[in-house]
Symmetry: D2
Subunit: 433 residues, 4 copies
């Protein structure tokens, strides 16, 4: 596989979308191509164009597109008439997934969780988590954080910080308070202490919470990475005040920050963990809410959904877990690539007096404004690199390359990015380039 | 393919579920088997058991399990590295789906809708629909109906009638009023008139609604089928009072009641239609919110989701639409099978003084109580027939066979059901049988 | 005291109101006079005008303006430096009020209530009642009724039916469902049965209520009088479903319908009763929430308010109770006057093919539209009669004369009304008159 | 009038309260006396006891009990059959009040407000204010503050910080966010800047507010006095973000902090001001919402209430305004007494290493815990001094003496307090005393 991105020169006919797809579509606007094929880190359009994917389905494709081993088990499964849709019946595919989860993920990490298969979307996993927290505690308030993103259905949307998304609700979003994330008020303000003060004050107006819902690295909110120390404080605050701690690991989990879970090795254990995105390994819809057994107080069917337990996803997820997580090799690869990414982004930041964000293979660079960021990502696209933005003002150019990317390909993509940033921030260079 | 169901004698080891799956699981409790393979109307377990499926994934498998043509296009697509996950980018698979939707479904029916690909679950399609209705109208109240079922995420759950499901929310469910469905107060009360009176009364306490959200046949709520006359009145009321009419066609659509949409030929056009379940044709997670173009006021990305636009589902849905809906043959089959089903259920009802419910291939029989219904469905399962219940008290035994079922196989399943009802309601028979 | 109303010919200078009083003022718009003195049934303006008061402060002046005995005890109390403001401290005035309430009102009626002195407004009494019902039951939903009116603060406003008032909230009003009042759907529909059906149906979408809040006669909502039979059904429904029954007796209580409480002799006992308006006897701000002792689970100060327990009002209320309610004479007067009022309104209704509403001395006539009603009340005002409207469309001309009105004065006021109706509805007559 | 407090030795029979008054009563528990008479700073019980009042009806009696001039105008008014209850009709009493408000209060201060006469309670004035802010802005969120207290009806209660009060709601309190008051996080954290950061961040999760609702000195919340600088920042933040600034001056207004309004001379003008408590001058129920004319967008009657515009209170309020605020004498008295109070409290604080709170004649001392504070106030009561606590833990002993108190009487009351503190905090002294 060559290392060279090769964008198409011209856009295809996309009138069918104008005619029949809702205005709500978004990514297709900044990428006016029609894609037909993908493998590994590459997306292909129908005009011979090839694009290096530094977006990875917003971290849904941590193992790349159509990984051959995952693809094969899925084809085999379909060919043999494996159960495709089985509601929440027992199936071989589910049993094997649960076995892999237990053997490869939970037991070696000393974790004891039960899996709740929610509808196969991240937002559904979050809805289930906050429902359960409310049921367990008998309280209604969820504490979420500034710049947090948790989904678009009403319960999850109330936990999301973004005003544009929130405005879509059409009703006031209630029962959630947004607290300041780690570092939100600058390095000198311990936002955990601010929260603790109000929770301990019976006259603060902050009601006792059912749960604290947190991302360890805020994917949509600007790649803000919380420190382990702050997260431990938050876990301790939750425990002290009788609230559950929910880690939303939908974007940061499945290896993106270096381990299967983003909170590993930090010295605390969440009560509930939500997963989705890269969980199936192949980009299939799949979501999971992990629950400490003593909190699993659901009645049968109290939360359900037609597509809970996507059997195709069980098959690929099982393979992904056993293939990538049975030994230390993949973690070691991520660590090396993450360090490479960090080094390159730091260099770009230093060159232009910018700052970087993130952790592991989930990193970005703050280019100062959404306009500049958009200039940069457009220039990248024109060179065949798919890369997107994040943050309150879309001012963070984020790199979410597949974790399986070859180091050299990662470098070549970062070269494109480096040039685009230079062109955007050093106009003279831009003209010359 | 033989006509005989052949249940397994013994249950498999399911300890992994006790250990690792949440208590929330439900169907697996009444079907203590582990399934591994399915084709057409048959589910197979690992012990040689074969089960006739009158549940069809709650109407998600209208074309049966693993339909060979759908299966083949999916295998071909995967084999050729077709895009699996593409956020909402343009893909060949999406363009083809939109084309099929336009050519085969919308244009011949004189319908003009735009497709919004929400997260691939019914509840997400409903959340998007009510968000949009609130945005378009600037109002907050949704009118839903007694016994309505619309999903488990907070916005959709507020529209759902079932107290057990609602109780799981952990917070008061607001911004929705549940009105009496057609026939709810008996045949002599025109519930549309009751609604109209309160909406026209500025002192009724019923706020002006953003939308009226209705199922034409209530799948989970007891297979109550609204009359076309009543639905036309509801559509007229919505129009008169500036509200949108949303038909939730998630369970009743895709042919279940005889046509692609359940509201066809009734003399009104919904403003918004939600679809999911059988839309992919193969049971893959997929959902769609159809919107009249003039109501498509979304901002880009205002509602989104990682798995919106499941490309595998685009492929199978396109094939399903072109295969089943390009001519009248399939509709004719459904009509014949629906009539057969009606006749057989009427006979059972008459024998025991019971009543039937439903329309098309979405019918059931009210056996009087959830206990009796459970006795019946258990007896069916023991004979190799998977059949489930519906209704406020689970008192309706519902038949949701694949629409593709051979007439003779349908009859053989109904034979099992007929015997089980007789055994449950005529104890002497039961002993003798 | 003469019987003749004597309106002023011209309006006074009211520029100070334009300059310094909010646009929210309402009654002063239809009565462009400035009043300075009042006694019994008469209001006086500064220009020598005298107005017969058929509004009575919306039933806050059941014993007329400045009743001499009430006036005297208040002057004596103030003169002797009686406690004016004492928060909820024990005071002689409060002890005497509680004694009178116990001796004259509760004990003879076999009622056992505790008095909660809320802030001195009806809305506050309602807020306290629904708070307590929610606390006692652990539920959130209040069932109120079409055309109900319970106050303007957010909790009470949510229970109020009027769209104009509700619109002022600026936020969605939640946690309340408005059910159809007695007769709302016509004489043939038993609205209690409709409610019972939905409450007994676990899939109706109507959550289990904390309380049913009802007026026996809807003062603002059109003088709709519930039948004793219907109210007994509602009381039975509340009991069956574990909800409290709250009678809002703010407008209908204190003799307005013939007895001290409007629900006397109907065969049920409310769990909570709210009172205000005429409770002080003299129009002073005063409100009371009566609670069955076993439901009095308040913590000290859990609901409070600076002006709870208005001591001036204790003094006049004590006198009013002992003066009017110690024997049967007053009740007998109300019965006679109510019959007279009924007879006269029936005659007017018959003359014009209209219908009447109400009970006791709380009656009105439906003149068909708010425009006609406004024409009538304006004409009355021009003749020196203050009379107002009620109902969803302000289409009910309501007579809320002081209960102490002389029969002949009542007749003279009704003469004015009769002529005004005739003028409005028989234009020829109007021209001639 | 002697300076000596003279408590009664024994408690009266209070069985009527146990039998007939709700458990919600509070102050009467710590003051087991029955009061019958009051004048100036003194409360009398029926057993010859006399109590110096450092509570003043929680600042409702700033001019003392039954001030002779106020008393006299009220007796004269009642004697002449002045209008007692007139809904919102024009009355002489109202016109005179508006005139005094304009002449003596607004015009000299260069303020332009319209008066909205809400139901005569502080909570109702707050409800009206936040309703109007929501109507004007079309937004729903109110920003209130930690330790804020605004009333007990649902709208105002949602703005109140106290968990015990909030818990009484029985439903989740929504549409309000509690921000950190001035100094809440210690002297080094600028809480206005924290708020500004989140309001300016479109991804903070803090929605755009309709209003910022603030007390300049938090009466119930611990006598925390905001600095003028901080209040100016809050006013600027409100303006910048399109929100109204509402000053709740119910407890701090009417002279308590030195001027008629607590915010005078601070360099900003609130959009809305709420008043109640001492507004009538004599402790009569009375409340007022002052509105900048351009924000007075109410429809007639959109917010109303039976007792809005208490005419007795108009009479006494008019007299109070003209008597106390027509010249500088009273302000000068308050300033002197406030300084005296400050000096004495500082001395007590210094003696025991404690801190003081508040401003003007609204000051207190933090004695470290509610238990100690309760010991102190009980000891004071035994010496004939009525004094109460404030703060999240009731740890602040607060002095709310009538503003009209003689300096020497103030000193004598403070002597009692000083000894009680010493006894509580220096046990050895306590034994000896």
């Amino acid at each position: 596989m060559a290392l060279t991105a090769r964008p198409s020169a011209s856009a295809p006919d996309i009138s069918i979308y104008d005619r029949r797809e809702s205005q709500v579509r978004s990514y297709s606007r900044s990428m006016p191509r029609q894609f037909n094929r993908a493998e590994g880190v590459w997306l292909h359009d129908g005009n011979g164009g090839r694009y290096l994917d530094f977006l990875s389905g917003c971290s849904s494709l941590n193992y790349g597109h159509n990984h051959p081993e995952l693809k094969q088990v899925l084809i085999d499964y379909i060919s043999s008439d494996g159960i495709t849709h089985g509601l929440d019946m027992h199936t071989d595919a589910k049993a094997e997934f649960l076995g892999a989860l237990e053997d490869v993920i939970l037991r070696p990490r000393g974790l004891d969780y039960r899996a709740m298969f929610t509808g196969p979307t991240g937002t559904n996993a979050v809805e289930a988590a906050i429902k359960l927290a409310r049921k367990v505690t008998g309280r209604e308030l969820i504490l979420a954080f500034t710049n947090g993103f948790h989904g678009m259905t009403l319960g999850a949307l109330a936990c999301t910080g973004n005003a544009g998304k929130r405005g879509g609700a059409g009703i006031p979003l209630s029962h959630v308070s947004h607290e300041a994330f780690d570092g939100y008020y600058g390095p000198d303000v311990d936002t955990a202490a601010l929260l603790e003060q109000r929770l301990s004050d019976p006259s603060s107006g902050l009601d006792a919470p059912a749960a604290i819902l947190v991302e360890t690295v805020q994917g949509e909110g600007g790649l803000n990475a919380a420190s382990p120390e702050w997260l431990r404080k938050i876990a301790a605050i939750a425990k002290k005040h009788g609230a559950l701690m929910i880690v939303d690991d939908i974007q940061a989990g499945c290896g993106r920050t270096g381990n299967f879970f983003s909170f590993e090795g930090m010295g605390f254990t969440p009560d509930i963990v939500t997963m989705a995105k890269s969980l199936s390994g192949m980009g299939l819809p799949f979501a999971l809410t992990l629950i400490r057994p003593e909190l699993d107080v659901w009645s049968p069917g109290e939360h359900n959904g037609t597509f809970r337990g996507n059997n195709h996803a069980f098959v690929t997820a099982t393979k992904a877990i056993r293939h990538f997580w049975a030994d230390e090799a993949f973690k070691s690869d991520i660590a090396r690539r993450g360090a490479l990414l960090e080094k390159r982004l730091d260099r770009m930041a230093k060159e232009h007096g910018l700052s970087t964000r993130g952790r592991g293979m989930m990193r970005g660079i703050d280019v100062g404004s959404g306009e500049i960021a958009s200039t940069i990502t457009s220039a990248c696209f024109d060179k065949g690199l798919i890369i997107e933005t994040s943050g309150a003002h879309d001012e963070i150019v984020k790199v979410l390359a597949p974790l399986t990317i070859e180091d050299s390909v990662l470098e070549s993509g970062l070269d494109i990015l480096e040039h685009a940033i230079r062109a955007a921030l050093s106009p003279a260079y831009g003209v010359a380039a």
